[in-house]
């Protein structure tokens, strides 16, 4: 039984300011670290594309199903995010190891020829993020102190 009550003058002023603000709404990008790739501005995809996230999308198990290439894509293009963190964990589970000096991922290609407490030497596969491909490196010395 209360019914509507007329807006007082101060509320009308508030409404005008709110209405003006409505035309400059905050966007997801406004509170996201400046980064060169992939701002959080979701694009409207056709409705028949799956719109909801897969239920376990942010778990290591889900990332382990992704191909190595995809994991490297997530790692190098979504830096500073949980996705990068999960991709790194999934890569390690596929026995890749991150070299903190070269900032690249390496994977043993065969049993190392030399191995001691400080390093191992042998043939490795590494992921070259500039050429975006996996390459072999013969006789590489992998120093454990650079292992992340």
């Amino acid at each position: 039984p209360l019914g509507p009550t007329p807006l007082q003058k101060e509320h009308q002023l508030q409404f005008q300011m709110m209405e003006a603000a409505y035309y400059h709404l905050p966007q997801p990008i406004d509170t996201e670290k400046l980064q060169t790739y992939f701002h959080r501005s979701p694009v409207q995809t056709p409705a028949h594309y799956p719109q909801a996230q897969l239920p376990i999308y942010d778990t290591v198990e889900f990332y382990q199903r992704l191909s190595t290439e995809t994991l490297f894509f997530v790692f190098y293009y979504m830096e500073g995010s949980k996705a990068q963190y999960l991709a790194a964990k999934a890569l390690k589970k596929q026995s890749w190891r991150f070299h903190t000096k070269y900032m690249m991922w390496f994977q043993r290609h065969e049993e190392p020829k030399i191995i001691n407490d400080d390093y191992e030497q042998g043939t490795y596969i590494y992921f070259d993020y500039e050429k975006w491909s996996q390459r072999k490196k013969e006789g590489f010395t992998f120093e454990y102190k650079y292992l992340e």
């Binding site: 509507p4 009550t5 508030q14 005008q16 003006a20 603000a21 990008i29």
Partner: protein, 518 residues
């Protein structure tokens, strides 16, 4: 106006220098510390750090420069919006980083006061600049720069850093207090950004989880109160319009996150929220009233012969973190109330009751809802205490024939439709999860129905309960069990009333509710 000559130029020069440094280093921590050290030296050389007053003036000038960048970038029609924002964010992120580094490294290691004072100072300066900007520019006001500033500064001060981690309570309190001073009633042009800031996932986690002992809860309750206060006049006039509709929908989302993750928070502060939420916002209020402690299992309200008074939880008083007793004003009214509850004297108390509650003759705003809510809550809790002292459990018989029920019956009879609506709402707002208040007020409203001396009162009781039941979910447990009892228990003769059959769809509605109950 009374800045020392040359300060603005110095500030502009230093800030440009820092922005350049920050942009190229792009936060590589290795160079970060060295760049910062060198920059502080430069600030020193320019005399900025000489006195507290000069530092304050520097921050105000720097804030103003960043604000000017925002409007300059937006004024350039040739600049696409995202490029304009990138430019703006470079300046603001750099300014934020400088502040975060100064907060982190100011004062002696063990002395947090210097750091927190500096943070509060800067927040105050940006707040002041925003309010002045908001007032001067009116509908031309742009929230984006300030939104970025508060968000990025909070995120940077929350990032993994052992020094700041120990100051988390003070840091979060500083931001919560600033947001309170910045609430939508004060800065309506900032309201959308404000709602984003107070509901940001990191802010929620900090203020409601990571500050030990729930010390952040009262701060957050205050912010929600600010939001409801602002929305109230617009929501009262149900045609929302797009801006209010968006803010309202955003509020529902925040409340649903709170209901899901922090139900105990909504339980403890429900009273203050119901004081502010307009009575016609039935669903929004139901979200708050539907919250129950996560460790509690609610018996199915449709359980046949459910004995609510046998539930162990029905004897536990819920936590009510709102100082509602303070709202029973004026003091001599409270004195008469206590005296009447104790000795049913002065006898004039009941006849004067309506006069205390009615504040205007304006339809729709005749009554003081805050006083009504406080009065009902106070009388009810006093009644529960009295019954418990006699080692009884409240039930529909032992709550009768008491000074407390005299007051409720007087209100039911003496108030007009509008007043009685607020009175019945005050009762229905306590029908929540199993606790002693839910149980008592459930008995009270059923007793008022049974003892009503007019069908109008019974109809209105039904309406107040029904309007809370026919809205989309969620529905509070206490409301369901009360309504089920009303339509099931023959002593209320519910189905014999004309108003139950006043229209075919109403009859159908009651029958469908009855079917789901029985």
């Amino acid at each position: 106006t009374d800045d020392p000559p040359g300060l603005q130029e110095k500030t502009e020069f230093l800030l440009k220098d820092w922005v350049a440094l920050y942009t190229q280093q792009n936060q590589l921590t290795t160079r970060d510390a060295r760049n910062f050290g060198a920059f502080v030296q430069k600030m020193n050389t320019y005399g900025i750090l000489k006195t507290d007053d000069l530092i304050t003036r520097f921050f105000r000038q720097a804030t103003q420069i960043c604000t000017d960048v925002v409007y300059r970038m937006f004024a350039d029609p040739s600049l696409p919006i995202n490029q304009a924002k990138n430019k703006i964010f470079q300046w603001i992120d750099a300014f934020v980083h400088l502040i975060a580094m100064l907060v982190r490294h100011s004062g002696e290691a063990g002395n947090p006061t210097t750091k927190i004072n500096l943070l509060n100072k800067v927040l105050g300066i940006v707040l002041g600049t925003l309010l002045k900007d908001h007032e001067l520019r009116g509908v031309g006001f742009q929230q984006v720069g300030y939104h970025r500033f508060f968000m990025m500064l909070f995120m940077e001060l929350c990032s993994a850093d052992s020094t700041l981690e120990s100051l988390m309570h003070s840091i979060v309190s500083a931001f919560a207090y600033t947001y309170h001073l910045l609430n939508p009633s004060v800065a309506p042009g900032f309201c959308f950004a404000w709602l984003e800031l107070i509901s940001h996932r990191v802010f929620l986690g900090r203020i409601l989880v990571q500050i030990p002992g729930q010390k952040g809860w009262p701060l957050y309750a205050q912010l929600l109160q600010d939001l409801f206060k602002y929305l109230a006049p617009f929501l009262r006039n149900t045609e929302l319009g797009k801006p209010v509709g968006l803010l309202y929908k955003g509020t529902l989302r925040v409340l649903l996150v709170l209901l899901h993750d922090f139900p105990e928070f909504l339980c403890d502060y429900h009273f203050g929220f119901c004081d502010t939420i307009p009575p016609n916002c039935v669903q929004m209020r139901n979200i708050i009233l539907s919250a129950f402690p996560r460790n509690m299992r609610l018996p199915d309200p449709f359980t046949p012969n459910l004995k609510v008074d046998m539930l162990s939880d029905s004897s536990n008083a819920p936590k009510v973190c709102s100082s509602y007793i303070m709202n029973i004003q004026p003091p001599n009214f409270k004195k008469d109330l206590d005296s009447y509850l104790k000795a049913r004297a002065p006898v004039t108390f009941l006849s004067e009751l309506r006069g205390h509650l009615q504040v205007t003759t304006e339809p729709g705003t005749r009554y003081n809802m805050t006083l009504m809510n406080a009065l009902v809550m106070y009388v009810g809790t006093q009644a529960i205490a009295l019954i418990r002292n006699k080692n009884f459990v409240p039930n529909t018989s032992n709550i009768a024939h008491s000074a407390h029920m005299d007051i409720f019956q007087n209100l039911a009879v003496d108030l007009d439709t509008e007043g009685r609506y607020l009175f019945l709402n005050a009762i229905a707002n306590q029908l929540r999860y199993p606790n002693s208040h839910t149980h008592y007020f459930s008995c009270a409203v059923l007793h008022l129905f049974a003892e009503a001396n007019s069908e109008a009162i019974q109809e209105q009781i039904t309406r107040v309960l029904l309007e809370r039941l026919i809205v989309n979910r969620p529905h509070p447990w206490g409301l369901l069990i009360t309504f089920i009892e009303l339509i099931k228990n023959p002593i209320y003769k519910f189905w014999e009333h004309d108003f139950v059959h006043c229209a075919p769809e109403i009859t159908k509605l009651f029958e469908s509710v009855a079917r789901s109950c029985l």
